[in-house]
């Protein structure tokens, strides 16, 4: 009987060891950022220092500060990320996660971790990847191709405006980009938590970058986990750039797009059809390129 007890104990112990070996393989995750290789082991220490308060010890976004944070911290166990260079529904590249961590998320509690060394951030990416088995079984998507930005013209902006109407961007972002579309108040994320659309008029940076290329990428890859879909199947690259140019006019900045738009509006404002239900969004002869 005693021998049996010990045998059970030995086997159970070996079982624990085997489980540990499995866990170890997950924790042995790496990341590759340019010529840097990040490792999960040092990343775990950094995670305890910087991230655990919000994202939780298990990476499930349930850290002790999570109840007080809006929007909620990312749940790494789902391996769903907003800011990617890869198509919707796919895993981001390591560099995507690295860039998001470096950039932070404006209007949220996620700060820019730029002061950490690049190696530290690469290690953190490796550790974050250890929270979901998806990183073991799936490969990141292939980054989308972003063609060179075409020359800015008023026709491009006007066509972008038509697309804003046609793609029903206004339903969430509002006719003037003030985040007050008819659907804005009902939006929820993949955890059924309320979420607000981007308010172009606020002047805040975009969450996933500040350049026109970043803006292009946002609506061509979608923000997974949010109601913001990918328009890659609905927009040609040229049209996507037109939309970028129009969206820039909604922001309160002195951009080339805004300057061109204001100059055109000064003499053509009356030609515009309103954006919104039944609106045409076009006008000014800018229906095509």
């Amino acid at each position: 009987m005693k021998s049996n007890t010990r045998l059970v104990a030995l086997l159970s112990g070996l079982g624990v060891l085997l489980c540990a070996a499995g866990a170890n393989s997950a924790r042995a995750q790496t990341s590759h950022i340019g010529n840097l290789t990040g490792h999960a082991a040092p990343g775990s220490k950094l995670y305890q220092r910087y991230c655990v308060g919000c994202h939780g010890a298990d990476g499930d976004g349930a850290g002790e500060n999570a109840p007080w944070i809006d929007p909620k911290p990312r749940d790494f166990t789902l391996a769903v990320f907003k800011c990617r260079s890869t198509p919707t529904g796919t895993l981001p590249t390591d560099e995507d996660v690295f860039n998001a961590m470096t950039r932070g998320f404006v209007t949220t509690n996620m700060p820019q971790w730029l002061p950490l060394t690049r190696q530290n951030r690469a290690d953190l990416v490796a550790y974050i990847k250890s929270f979901s088995p998806k990183w073991k079984t799936l490969k990141p998507g292939t980054p989308i191709t972003i063609p060179a930005e075409p020359r800015l013209t008023i026709e491009s902006i006007l066509h972008g405006r038509q697309l804003y109407q046609k793609m029903e961007c206004w339903k969430c972002h509002g006719p003037k980009g003030h985040a007050d579309g008819p659907s804005a108040a009902t939006l929820t994320d993949n955890k059924d938590l309320p979420i607000r659309p981007y308010d172009f008029e606020s002047g805040s940076r975009f969450m996933c970058g500040v350049t026109n290329q970043d803006l292009y990428k946002i609506f061509m890859t979608g923000l997974d986990g949010t109601p913001m879909p990918s328009f890659a199947d609905n927009l040609e690259p040229a049209g996507a750039w037109d939309l970028v140019h129009f969206l820039r006019t909604l922001q309160p900045f002195d951009t080339p797009e805004a300057a061109l738009w204001k100059a055109w509006l000064a003499s053509h404002a009356g030609e515009l059809k309103p954006i919104g239900p039944g609106g045409g969004g076009g006008g000014g002869g800018g229906g095509g390129r």
């Binding site: 005693k2 010990r6 104990a9 305890q48 910087y50 500060n65 700060p111 530290n120």
Partner: protein
């Protein structure tokens, strides 16, 4: 081995033993660090200056190597004007109940002992004089800091730190307004008021706390008979232009300051000091961030005032004489080990010292922190000050005023989360001062009877350091 194991006795105990050993092995193999495992078993782990932690819901260890010392992320946060730069820094985004206030104090037991103190040979009589080691022990309090810092609006930062000494004396440690990111550039930030100089080695964030170890001797050293009222670690009143790169790896500051060593009022009379710092950090990969910098402080103090019937009129100086402090400082990380070197070359004009030539001295220190994890730190420091030139070499021994100071400490953060912090602190500090009053200690404040004699002063501190 297995056969021996199966033949043994006490199966249930062995079962528990083996399972426990395997779980321990599993923990190790799974790559979870001790701190991580501890986190899973306990509840809270992190600490920081709580006002910001409450505002931003970040663990305190995000900004501090071990509070109150800043890490590179905390330095960048401070440089941005205590802002994350997430478009939610303005207080309009805060819950109405939020108040940017944190309190810090340190109840403690401490021992202070100083040798060569002049006392009456028979207590209670005027039977001068004997030298004696004076020792005091007891439970005590530190002062209380009311730390109020934050934003008035986006890119408008404020700081207000009233203090209360244990005897009830109130003071204003800090009071400033800062305009951040002028012209949308991190390179231009202007601060006006009373504030700490942009010292890379901050005495306001010093991690050693005892009477002898809780200050940098180099920051406050003044040669014997030198009346210059200046401490590099003292908060000063003036205006500062400061700038930094987006990650704060490169930083500079320029400040114009009233020549009062931070005392309110313009008692020095149209006299200004200037401070300059410049530092740059390198990304050293997994080692961390390696920062090195230079600093200079040039000031003047009045020596002759306008007078009325021969009585000086304070605030209306006629003649002022200069002093300066220049040097190098660094902050180097080697994984869990942090080294903080500091070097200073200093001079006070002979008119300030009452001597026949300028007083010149050199100082340096090396402070080491070893962070076992964010909750346990071993601390040590060695500091030395050497007189290079005495103001009055004919009557003053060449080593008069030299200091050697040693400090070791241990700091254990009982818990760490983003609302409050409590640290258990143990520290021992020993200072040798040649022929002068120790800068701290039991505060008897008497130099030894014989010039050039060494005075030893020691502090033992056992404390609970908390902030909320």
């Amino acid at each position: 081995m297995v056969k021996w194991f199966l033949k043994g006795t006490g199966g249930a105990q062995w079962s528990w033993f083996l399972t426990g050993a395997c779980v321990a092995a599993a923990t190790v193999l799974s790559g979870r660090q001790p701190a991580y495992t501890a986190y899973s078993l306990e509840v809270h782990k992190r600490t920081v200056i709580p006002a910001f932690a409450r505002k931003y819901h970040l663990p305190c260890s995000a900004c501090h190597t071990a509070w109150p010392e800043l890490n590179p992320f905390g330095q960048a946060f401070k440089d941005r004007g205590y802002q994350l730069g997430n478009d939610r820094d303005s207080p309009i985004f805060q819950n109405n109940a939020y108040i940017p206030l944190a309190l810090r104090t340190t109840p403690q037991f401490h021992l202070e002992s100083t040798t060569k103190q002049l006392v009456d040979s028979t207590p209670g009589t005027s039977s001068c004089c004997a030298e004696k080691t004076l020792t005091q022990t007891g439970f005590d309090l530190s002062g209380i800091d009311f730390l109020m810092l934050g934003t008035l609006y986006k890119n408008v930062t404020f700081g207000l730190v009233p203090t209360l000494d244990p005897d009830g004396t109130a003071g204003i440690e800090t009071a400033f307004v800062r305009f951040d990111n002028l012209g949308n550039s991190p390179w231009a930030n202007v601060k006006l008021g009373k504030f700490e100089l942009d010292n890379l080695l901050s005495e306001k964030r010093i991690i050693l706390l005892s009477n002898n170890g809780g200050l940098y001797q180099s920051y406050h050293f003044i040669p014997l008979n030198d009346g210059t009222n200046f401490g590099l670690g003292d908060n000063q009143i003036g205006v500062e232009l400061m700038g930094h790169s987006p990650n704060s790896y490169t930083r500079y500051s320029l400040a114009a300051l009233t020549s009062t060593d931070g005392e309110a009022g313009i008692g020095a009379g149209s006299s200004y000091d200037a401070a300059f710092t410049l530092s740059h950090a390198l990304d050293a990969g997994s080692m961390g961030v390696e920062r090195f910098g230079v600093y200079a402080y040039v000031g003047q103090r009045p020596t002759v005032f306008e007078s009325d019937s021969g009585v000086p009129i304070p605030g209306f100086s006629v003649t002022r004489k200069p002093f300066y402090r220049v040097g190098f400082t660094g902050n180097f990380s080697f994984g869990n080990l942090e080294l903080l070197p500091f070097l200073m070359h200093a001079s006070d004009d002979k008119a300030l010292t009452g001597g026949t030539q300028n007083a010149i001295w050199n100082a340096g220190l090396l402070e080491a922190h070893y962070f076992v994890n964010p909750q346990l730190a071993f601390l040590g420091r060695y500091e030395a000050i050497r007189m290079h030139q005495q103001a009055d070499p004919t009557t003053t021994p060449s080593d008069q005023g030299n200091i050697d100071a040693f400090t070791i400490g241990l700091r254990r953060y009982v818990f760490m989360f983003s609302r409050a912090g409590l640290a258990m602190h143990g520290e021992y500090s020993l200072t040798k001062t040649i022929g002068n009053v120790p800068l701290s200690g039991d505060g008897n404040g008497l130099p030894p009877a014989t010039a050039g004699t060494a005075v030893w002063s020691s502090s033992l501190l056992l404390a609970l350091d908390f902030a909320f």
